[in-house]
Amino acid sequence: MTCASVLHFTERGIFCPAGEFYIDPWRPVDRALITHAHADHARWGHRHYLATHGTVPVMRHRLGDITAEAISYGEKRKIGDATVSFHPAGHVPGSAQIRVEVGGEVWVVSGDYKLGPDGLCEEFAPVRCHSFISECTFGLPVFRWQPQPLVAQQILDWWQANADEGRFSLLGAYSLGKAQRLLHMLRDGPGPILTHGAVENVNEVLRAQGLPLPDTIRVTPDLDVKGHKGALVIAPPSAFGSSWARRFGQASTGFASGWMQLRGVRRRRAMDRGFVVSDHADWPELHRAITETGAENIYVTHGYTDIFARHLNEAGFNAQVVPTEFGTDEDEAEDAA
C-alpha cells in the first residue's frame, strides 16, 4: 500500500478515491466532508455536505439551501471502502479534524485547529494516524500565545479605561469563532456588549444550539447608541471606517488576531490596540499536535509552509508542502487570523 492511496491532492481539493469524497474542496463536487464553517473550507456548490452537528447549522446560515447531513464527534461512518470520523479541532465551535481509514492506513486532515481550552468550543483531541495534513498558519517561532486569562485582562483593562472616558471600545473580530470567543472571555466586563449584525446572526445560530453566550445588544439603525456609552462593540473589521462605525463617535479601536503579535502588522492596521487572540495553533502547539498524532508523514497547508516543512524535516518527520486554496478568506486572510 502506498502512502498516497488514502487521500490524493487534486485540483478540486483533498480527495479520497476509496470513498469518492472530498474534504473541504474548493471546486464543486458531489460529496464534501467539511471540517468547519469558515468560508475557505465550507464553500458553496457541492451536491452533498457532511459535517458535525455544530457546523451544519452555521453552514446552512451562510450557504443557504444545501443538502447536508450532520455527524457526531467520534461517530464512525463507512463511505465506500473508507471509514471516516470527526474529532474536535478546538478552532471554532463545531470544528473538526477528519480521520479517514482505508485498509488499516489512517490519515487525518486537521482543518484549522488550536490546542488548549478556550471555554467555548470542544477541546482539540489528538488522533493517532500515519499521515497528518496540518495547517501551519502561525508556523514561525515568533508566534507564541499568552494564556487566555492574561489577554482577556488586557482587553478588559482597555475597555475599562475607555469606559472611564465615556468612550466606546470598538473591537474588530471575525464573526464566526473569534467574536464568540471574545464574548465568552469578556462576559464579566464593565458594561454592555453591542454587536454588529454579522456577528449577532452567528450568535443566534449558535445560541439556538445551546452554546452559552453572554447577553448582547444588536446594533440596529434605531438603537439609541448614546444610551450605551462606554459599551464594548464587537464588529467584523470591514465595518470599521464605514458609516456604520461613525455612530460611535471618538471610539477607541482594537483588533483581535494572532497577527497582532507582529508590531508591523499591528501598525499597518492603524488601530489603537492590537490584541493577540488566535484560533490557530501557535509554534509550540503545532509541534505538540504533530508529535501527538504519531504520524510519520506530515503535509502542511496555510501560511509559512516552506519554512515549517523544512523545520519538520530537520526534526525527523517526512514533511511536504501541499498547495491548497485555504487561507484565502476570513480568519487566516493575510492579516486577519
Binding site: P141, V142, R263, G264, V265, R273, Y304, D306, E314, T328
Partner: protein, 530 residues
Amino acid sequence: MKRFAALFTQLDQTTKTLRKTKILRAYFESAPDSDKLWAAALFSGRRPKRAVNTTRLREWAAEQADIPLWLFEDTYAIVGDLAETIALVLPPPNRADDHSLTDMIARLRSLSALDESERKPVILDLWDGLDQTERMVFNKLLTGGFRIGVSQKLMTRALAQAVGRDEAEIAHRLMGDWTPDSTTWHALIEAEDASADLSRPYPFALAYQLDDPPDSLGSLDDWQAEWKWDGIRGQLILREGQHFTWSRGEELMTDRFPELARATDFLPPGTVLDGEIVAWDGTAPLPFNDLQKRIGRKTVPKKLLKEAPVILLAYDLLEHQGQDMRDQPLAQRRATLDALLAALPEDAPVRASPLIHANSWDDLAAIRAKARDHRSEGLMLKHRESPYFVGRKKGDWWKWKLDPLTIDAVMIYAQAGHGRRANLFTDFTFAVRDGNALVPFTKAYSGLTDAEFRQITQWVRKNTTERFGPVRQVTPHHVFEIAFEGIQRSPRHKSGVALRFPRMARWRQDLSISDADTLDHLHDLLDRYG
C-alpha cells in the same frame, strides 16, 4: 527600563498625535533628568553606537530559542525587525529587573570595552531580566536601530509643554551636535546661555506639495518662485571665523564638502544661509548621481573634488550680522541675501539660487515645464510675506514639482515585504518588452493601497511559476504604470538604465502585456532625460 518600555508601549498603542504628545509630555514631567536627556537624544536620532555585532546577537538568540540559525534568519526576514524578532523568540525571562534607561545604556556601552566572548554572558544575563517589550527596546538600543513612530517635532512639542518653554526655542536648543555625554539636561534645556553654541543650526522650514492648481494661491505678485533643485538641503553657518555645514537630517557635513570653507573668505561672520548643495559644472548643476558619489564619503579624494565640485545655491538668509532674521518677511530676507551675494566672484562656492520672474501663472507653468532642462525638479513657491518658520506650515511654502516620468511595465517577480507588510507580496520586479523577451529594468515597492496589495498577493500565490528562495517568478500578466523622477545610464543593470524613485503609480488592469512599453521606449527616455 520599565518606565521607558512603558512609554514605548503607550506610544505604540495610539495613532493619534494629540495622545502621543500627552504621553511624552507625562514622561518628560516625571522621569529623572538623565533619562529625559537620553530620551530626547534617542527621539532626535542620537543613538548610542552599536555595541555588539548583530551576527553574534542572531546566533545567541537562536541558541537561546533552541532553533537553527536558518530558521531564525527566515523568521527575521518575515518580521523585518531584528530587535523584535529576538524579543519574540527568546524564552520567557527568569527575573524582572528594573534598571533606569541611563543605567541600561551605560551597561550596553560598557560592552565595547569587553572581548566578544565576554559580551555574550552579559547580554544573556540582561535578556533574562527583561520582559518582551523591554527586550525589544533594549535590543533596539543594542543594535543602534532605535526608531519609533515619534517625529522630532512631536517630541519637541511635548518637551516644550513639559518644561513650559516656547516650542521654537526648544527646537533650536535641540539642534546641533550635542550628545548626552557632552551636555546635561539643565545645560541643554534650561540654562539661559544654551544658544551660545557656535555650530548650532536653525530648524529647517519645510514645504508642502502643491496639489491644487497654482492660481488657487491667489495673485502671483504675492509669491516668489525659485527652481526646486535635486540636491541636498543644507545650512551653512559662518560664525567667528568658523564654518559649519548641516544637512536637513541634522547631520554635520562640514568635512564632506570642504569647498564651502572658502565661503568665510567672502562672507562676514554671523551669517547663516539656507540652500541646496549641488554638484556644479560651472554653469549648472550636475546630475544627482554625481553628488551621490560625494555623500557617502567622509573625506573626499582629490579626483572627486575635481569631477564633482559642490557649491551652495542659497535661497534664504537666517542670520545676518549675528542677528536672527527669521521673523522678517521673505522678500526682505531675500533682498538682504541678494545684496550680500552680489559682490561674490564667479568661483565663490556660494551663489544665489535665481528667482524666476513670470507675468502670469500660465507663463510660470510654461517655465516649470522646462525644469528638467535646468536639471531641476520643478518650482518652489514661497509667500513673500512668510517668516522662516519651524518645520512645516501649510500655506506659506509649496513644492510645485513636475509630473513624474512614467512607463507601463510588466510584473515578473514578486517578493514578500517585511515589517508592516510581512504577510503581503509588496516588492516587485518589472520588465519592458524587447521583441518576445521581457527585460527587467526596475524594482518598486510602494504606491499601491493595502487592498491592492492584498489582491495582488492572492494572485501571486496562485500564479507562481518558480521560486528562487524568497523570490517568486510569476506568470507575466499584470501591467503597472511605473512613475519615476529621473533616469540614468547604468552598466550594472541588464536594461542599461537605473531609475530614481520608482514606484507603482497605477495598476493598469485595463492593459495586457502586449500594451506594455518596450526597451526602445525606455532608451528613448534615457536619451531625452538621462
